[in-house]
Symmetry: C2
Subunit: 437 residues, 2 copies
């Protein structure tokens, strides 16, 4: 039986997070965590794919428009034809002869692609009645690699090399699957150090997180060096030096400022500096990475790296010590798999970006697959966790003692509850109508 | 007197160029040359800014939506406040705290920024009653540099260095201005070698172009090596080896394919290979550039390079021998000036991308300014010219003996004729209504 895609509906969903400064950082002082949420309907009325792409308020309407402009490439297509040669279909979408001009493969059009492609993966996993990670784990190396478009990365990773990486790990899959199910996947918290929080709130959040079992803590930096020192000092007072501290500048700095600022913060022994500068600046990150090596500070980035071509360069040049790929900025899971396999080749650990809307729900699948089929270790690998906006999903990500629990529901995305969509659809949902009266 | 922006109207304008294969290449077989066209209205009803960004059909509606999402940053602003510190305003637009998530500074949101920012430059030039190039030429080095946002490029070009480049050229401005007015700026033709043209058409177009005085000819390659060899051979038969031939692959290849393909085409002595691979691949272009150096083939790119950060790396690493910046993919003239000054520092000639809709009209201003205030030479500098879609403008770009004539009308853009907008606005214009019946 081969089902066709019959219809697609996309919605602009926004949560008023800016009111309480959740998610505030040096470049985004007032995010309203949002998403474009996509339903892909099929000939089977009981089978609908859900997919989303994360945004932060204004601009979501532009991504929504882009989803609508891409829909014609999906509607009427048979799911079997797509999954039989997913790389070919992915290229048809990302290289559409007129639409590619407004990317290509970056920004708005790629965010839109991601929501749609992720909804297809959700469908595929549902058809197989498996959680997404298990769909991937049960695939042969050849089948998994057949979903990846190697255009523009073949100089660094060939199809054959990708298959070999997976084959090499085949014998360990079963044992690792059991292990990760029993232990869960380690998480770190970003919730203690948003720029907009006051000192008392930071201290109490650190204490709560320690009680919850967290060993890795991330703080935002970059607005004011003295302020950063005070905040990092008080976080270290709370968490000690036996736990890990990471810092995140959200692209605030130029290269030389990044180097000097981080030299000054190096006394607090951060494991990494995240997004010190523009996500487009591969060579700049190499300069920073080289300058901070003597201080034991690694460079982490990826949440705004636009596609596999940027990751390819960061990895090959040695400009990135932690790969924070983003499940909805890359063009859906196919491209995530490409980046994960390139990272494996260069022995760079994957620590996916999460938080926002739905990212924790997505990335747990990616890291669990990475553990079972690629890396076989959680050394230096840790997944972001932010304790906001999970109860909006029917099957939310959850953690126990700072470890993501392995999910067993079929599909990719924690589906959003219908009443949440009715409340927060922008601008017509009941919440937005009530505040915009 | 300080005027405020009162209203903005943006339109989706599309020309049915795909019907005749104009503009066809290896990655874009069927472009409908299009643009988002912006009017910025002011308190003076006789003073309206016009700006556009070039697109190729589908997707224009997404860029239009992005313009509408950016408008709130412009409406109500005083023009004097903008022009007094244009870099600050430009950063306000490109770093808007929520909208930057859907870029930042790339793709749809940056194309939209470009149309709006270019309309502001059009206004500024009209207020001064000068053509845009002359507005720039008459500015002090400090004033011109004050329009540039140096964020993310200060490690390679400081404000002081930029001022020095311009100061160094001050004594020659007057003489160069007279020269360029009398001689015009050299142009090359891309019209002879679109992929979709047959051999007879290519031959006759070469002959016409030679008669018109052209000495530089560009052909599309990348679909089929034997076909490319046949087409380049016949172009060389027509133009000889005393004229220059350039080739353009429009991102068709992976790195190793690009190197091998161009080794095979090197017998036809191309001056450059344009866009051999992904525009995001700085390190990849360096590999190609190094491999082709022994064959005397340079690497040219820029029409899809998303922002100054990518250009910075291409220039600093030596991955680009010809800088083909694009007046509407970069975030308006402010960023074009940044790239031009970085190119000057690294002694890389600027050969702007043109053709499409309105690009020839824009880039003549840029290259004329570059000649007078920065480079002082046309050696290895040549501006693309495509002989389509000029009569849609009130003040079209025009060439005589393969040289752009220096324009004297005030403003930046050749304004589009009102009847053209009525005919080709999509989908409501009279042309589109007639074909979509």
């Amino acid at each position: 039986m081969s089902l066709a895609v019959t219809n697609i509906i996309a919605k602009d969903i926004r949560f008023p997070t800016s009111a309480e400064k959740h998610g505030s950082d040096a470049m985004h002082p007032d995010p309203d965590y949002s998403c474009v949420y996509v339903f892909i309907y099929t000939e089977n009325e009981h089978l609908t794919g859900h997919g989303l792409t994360f945004t932060i308020g204004r601009g979501t309407e532009v991504v929504l428009k882009a989803v609508q402009s891409l829909e014609f490439l999906f509607i009427g297509k048979k799911l079997n034809d797509i999954f039989d040669d997913f790389a070919r279909f992915w290229r048809e979408v990302t290289s559409e002869s007129q639409l590619r001009w407004i990317g290509p493969e970056k920004g708005v059009i790629h965010l839109a692609t991601s929501a749609l492609i992720n909804a297809l993966w959700d469908l595929w996993a549902k058809i197989e009645n498996k959680p997404l990670w298990k769909l991937l784990v049960d695939m042969s190396p050849e089948k998994l690699v057949s979903t990846i478009d190697f255009r523009y990365i073949s100089d660094v990773l060939s199809e054959e090399e990708a298959v070999q990486i997976l084959k090499h790990n085949m014998p360990y899959r079963k044992a690792r699957e059991e292990e990760i199910i029993s232990k869960g996947y380690p998480a770190y918290t970003s919730s203690v150090g948003w720029i907009g929080y006051n000192d008392e709130k930071i201290r109490s959040l650190c204490r709560e997180a320690l009680l919850d079992g967290f060993t890795h803590f991330k703080a935002k930096v970059g607005d004011n060096i003295e302020n950063d020192k005070r905040r990092l000092k008080l976080i270290r007072e709370e968490i000690g030096y036996e736990n890990k501290l990471m810092v995140d500048a959200n692209q605030k700095w130029d290269i030389n400022v990044a180097i000097e600022w981080m030299r000054q913060l190096s006394e607090f022994k951060p494991l990494w500096i995240e997004e010190p500068t523009s996500p487009d600046d591969v060579f700049g990150h190499l300069k920073i990475s080289d300058a901070l090596k003597p201080y034991g500070v690694g460079v982490a980035l990826g949440e705004q790296c636009q596609n596999r071509v940027i990751f390819k360069q960061l990895l090959e040049m040695g400009a990135m010590q932690f790969c924070q790929l983003d499940a909805t900025r890359l063009g859906g899971l196919n491209e995530v798999l490409a980046v994960a396999l390139m990272a494996a080749k260069f022995h760079v650990p994957i620590c996916p970006h999460a938080g926002g809307v739905g990212l924790c729900e997505y990335v747990r699948h990616i890291s669990i697959w990475d553990y079972i089929c690629v890396s076989g270790t959680t050394k230096n690998r840790i997944v972001e966790y932010v304790d906001h906006l999970h109860d909006i999903f029917s099957n939310p990500a959850s953690i126990v003692r700072a470890h993501y629990i392995v999910p067993f529901e079929s599909g990719y995305c924690g589906q959003m509850k219908p009443e949440v969509i009715e409340t927060y659809e922008y601008p017509t949902g009941t919440y937005w109508r009530s505040v915009n009266k």
